[in-house]
Symmetry: C2
Subunit: 137 residues, 2 copies
């Protein structure tokens, strides 16, 4: 019952870039060290973020990464979707799925509340929100 590591890394990466990119462009080495993410694994995530057009890369010496869009335009849910890790409408607690109002497990209704809260949290939080000064990434 947790986000997978790759999604967690991706959110922290984007958030860190958002916070620092006005000072200087961010290299994979800096990101790896600052965020304590294995370098080789980080570069793998970066190429996914580049292909998904969340960030754009500058190759060659003095290269690095910067956000392609404004950080308030990227929601957490957008990022999670890239890694198949968001909470979908049909998300089921017991893995049966496709139940309806007449036939459902006893936990279904209680499961809706936290589920909707999490969906809302992911959809309404942007990378800008979580990159605010003073907050941990």
């Amino acid at each position: 019952m947790r986000l997978n590591s790759t999604s967690q890394y991706a959110i922290r990466i984007l958030s860190y870039i958002a916070r620092k990119q006005d000072e200087h462009i961010l290299s994979a080495h800096e990101l790896s060290e600052a965020l304590n993410i294995p370098y080789k694994f980080l570069t793998k995530i970066m190429t996914k973020l580049v292909k998904a057009e969340f960030v754009e890369s500058v190759r060659g010496r003095d290269g690095g990464f910067r956000l392609k869009d404004d950080p308030e335009k990227i929601s957490i849910d957008d990022v999670l979707n890239l890694f198949n890790d968001s909470i979908k409408e049909e998300q089921c607690l017991l893995g049966i799925g496709a139940c309806d109002t007449h036939c459902k497990c006893a936990m279904h209704d209680q499961w809706m509340k936290p589920k909707l809260l999490i969906q809302k949290l992911f959809r309404e939080s942007s990378i800008k929100d979580i990159s605010k000064k003073g907050s941990k990434i």
Copy 2:
């Protein structure tokens, strides 16, 4: 962001046994077919449930499984704990952990609400609750 298959299976198994055990003892074959869980995988889960003393087994011909305790005494959280799948106090959204009130990510406070709701749901729901007639398992 979901329960692992093994936990889901275990909850459904216990719930099914709770509902049917007054009629007859439940064999692995019946459970496997009724719940659509691969037979060999189910028997593996059953031995864990036996060792954890959620169910007791009757070996040999006409054997099977029955609950060891009253179904209202087994909470969903108890079951999830057996499979390292419950939501812990320190459960973190971004995987950084060990943050405090002064230093936390921007999502921490919003994450508390759904997290507490889910904890409550798991702790206050028993196998009896979810095995009620008319509800899917």
